[in-house]
Symmetry: C2
């Protein structure tokens, strides 16, 4: 039935090369929309981004495209049934919202005016996640054009949400409400990365995420640090002491119960991690960091992929302008995020923080803690047939052996797994230097097109090798 491998690979590659310019023009148009879901004043842009994507998916050929509204930002849903009724149903997940970005944060160019320099496309969302959503449109067109099909080899569905960068507050509800239409045999998440330009990898799990803001209130207003200093509890000091108490001297999270249920790494997983060509100097350059530091007893990769964390994302209180101001501030705040791994329940983590934090705060300081909706961790079985298809498709696109990683970041993939009862697979082509959430986010154009090639190969491979039991 299928063409010989070599000619299929070259046909896909030729098709994608021919359509590269138009594809990049379209992506740039999408990237110009500042769909920042965390900033309320960008709500119209997030809606505009959804409408833009819906139109682009119709243009691609999806017979059904819908914008799904939520109490927050809208998601985009599309489906394209196969002409083979017994083929697997696959749901592609991604997001069209982006992190906040401002030129003055250190961008070399406007974050919402995409530019290509040295084979890289720079823009907020280039890699996280518009680029990786959009390569599927070129992928499915290449799949059809090079196989002569009029419909994909699998029943293809897309769900591209608009609140991922805000913790997906309405995503689980949306998936629960639309579970029947979203029903799938596997979920392909394209919101992750691979090891490096030279080492294609498939990710087998993501960390979860619980986020909270802790506000500490001291004097009812700022007071003079001369008249009152030394005798009044200072909320900035209290915030600092609370943060300092988050970790013990071995850099383990010191909140009682935090590690309950954590699935420890197996020897096989530690071996797979160790097979990767890890270069600490290179990793540090990607992290822009001048040192590593983390939980004692684990390697750097183990720390970011398979261990839960507590990080301060923001801290603030008192005077932050030029010069000095001799006050005891009235309040202080800390934004914390906890990355979770398989076996941890976000609700239990929330309870553990709520039980722990007030005890860290001295008398005279009031403490308010608010959690955002959490994202669950997830982990894919290494021997799942759909995972093997992803590995083969990626291998054909990259002409290289494909290795295994995990992802330290978080996505609502586990909600899809929970609600739909489908395994979650990760297909991502971003590399660590892409600068997710940072200034000068970019995507490597070569890898973006390899993503489209992988997508083009994947649907036929899945249909050929996997007949899920209904």
């Amino acid at each position: 039935m299928s063409q010989p491998v070599d000619s299929a690979v070259s046909a896909v590659r030729t098709y994608i090369e021919q359509h590269r310019a138009a594809f990049l023009d379209d992506l740039a148009e999408w990237l110009r929309i500042p769909s920042v879901s965390a900033q309320p004043d960008h709500a119209p842009d997030v809606r505009g981004s959804a409408e833009w994507l819906a139109a682009a998916l119709e243009e691609t050929g999806f017979p059904t495209v819908e914008v799904w509204h939520t109490p927050g930002a809208p998601a985009v849903y599309a489906e394209w049934p196969s002409d083979d009724p017994g083929a697997p149903t696959v749901l592609v997940y991604g997001h069209h919202d982006v992190q906040p970005a401002a030129r003055e944060d250190g961008w070399d160019s406007d974050p919402f005016e995409p530019v290509v320099r040295d084979g890289r496309l720079y823009a907020r969302g280039a890699a996280d996640d518009k680029g990786q959503v959009f390569f599927h449109t070129l992928g499915v067109r290449a799949h059809l054009a090079t196989t002569g099909r009029t419909a994909p080899a699998v029943h293809l569905k897309l769900l591209i949400e608009g609140e991922e960068e805000s913790g997906s507050p309405h995503f689980r509800e949306l998936v629960e409400q639309r579970a029947e239409r979203l029903g799938a045999d596997a979920v392909i998440v394209s919101d992750t990365g691979m090891w490096s330009e030279d080492t294609p990898t498939v990710c087998t799990g993501m960390r979860g995420l619980a986020e909270c803001e802790i506000r500490l209130y001291g004097p009812d207003q700022d007071v003079h640090s001369g008249s009152f200093g030394g005798a009044v509890p200072n909320p900035a000091t209290a915030a600092a002491r609370l943060v300092a108490a988050l970790h013990d001297d071995r850099a383990r999270v010191a909140i009682p119960g935090f590690y309950d249920g954590v699935v420890e790494l197996t020897d096989r997983e530690r071996e797979l991690f160790a097979e990767l060509p890890f270069d600490e100097g290179q990793w540090l350059r990607a992290a822009k960091s001048h040192g590593t530091r983390g939980e004692a007893g684990y390697s750097t990769l183990e720390r970011v992929w398979a261990r839960p964390t507590a990080e301060v994302n923001g801290i603030g209180g008192g005077y932050q302008g030029p010069g000095s101001k001799t006050i005891i501030p009235s309040s202080a705040m800390v934004k914390l995020s906890f990355r979770l791994v398989a076996g941890q329940d976000p609700e239990q983590v929330r309870k553990a923080v709520l039980a722990w934090a007030p005890g860290q705060v001295p008398e005279g300081i009031r403490c308010e803690i608010s959690f955002s909706p959490a994202t669950r961790p997830c982990l894919t079985p290494l021997d799942h047939p759909a995972l093997r298809s992803v590995v083969r498709a990626m291998g054909r696109a990259f002409d290289k052996p494909v290795r295994f990683t995990r992802e330290g970041g978080s996505g609502p993939a586990a909600d899809l797994q929970d609600v739909l009862g489908a395994p979650v697979l990760f297909l991502g082509i971003s590399v660590p230097s892409d600068g997710w959430h940072a200034p000068n986010e970019k995507v490597e154009l070569d890898l973006l097109l390899k993503g489209a090639e992988t997508s083009a190969h994947l649907w036929g491979d899945l249909a050929e090798h996997w007949r899920p039991v209904p």
Copy 2:
């Protein structure tokens, strides 16, 4: 020679009552000038404030008035020699610059548009320090008018600086350069407070002040807390841990050498403190605080008047906007102030901080510490004859026994003591509820006018009771 006490008291009171309205109008005009020395964009206002004061002092009758320029903000100097050559020379010190203030910080009215409500004048600088500088103009006029003099009973000098709220960076240099003209037998500092509306007090010492900003640098830019969290040192966490390490569990400053040289309280001083009608509930209301906390083994008054402190005036790092941003921030900063007591040397404290802080910071985080120029602590002998004059003058103005306090705040008084070799005395009428450095700063109008009365009585009393040995 002198009039009977009762008639002198009532003559001064009548004069001041008659001139009250014009005095308050003039003060309001001065308070409208936002002379915020810590904010570079207000530099023209600080200059304008100096010029306004110089004109007002000429109007008062000072034969010599000069604006003294510095590399920063200008000071105002005035002198009015006595017709009694053997009278003491007294230098009044205050400042015409103010703390930053903005309506949105919680002010009920524009901080630079003075309003009178319920016998209180609300404006930034009303108590700290324009009001307390300005009562001397009414005081000296009352002194002359009620004694029939054409020149004050003492050789009177005024030095009103413009950088007190910025740590007086050029004040010592100014005093050293002008030491001959500033030469005095005693310095009267009017930049302090008294116990309460009902309990007039004279202050016998001020704490000193050393301030620094510590900047901690981690990754070269903000990085994704999912991709890198758990393995990269976080500068916000490092800042928090540094602040947490500032104090031990007994709330003592934990920097080695910090307490070196501290003059401990004597039993007599602890008794004088204990004589004051201290009401912890009332003090807490003034502090707007919901609890007390401080160095173990000391009372609240002892903590704020006679013990050195380390306070966080500001802390910041990472994302502080609405919603969340899952980053490891690139940098964080802490603004610290150390209140110092007699016996502590600011330079030794600076060295102690510089020796201690880097050891609190993990590998991979770079630490930069910058100190502002410091203010020395000072302490006045309880039995000094000029101090007895201040106590008598205040007693006549208030018709009440005068008790002794200290001041937790800081001023460059100790520089005057050092350079001029003159004892420093404190004459202040502000009360703790005046809200120095806070929103809704105010001065009690009755007390402001009692300040003018005290000033009116003081010059004659000093000349009568004290003939300093040249």
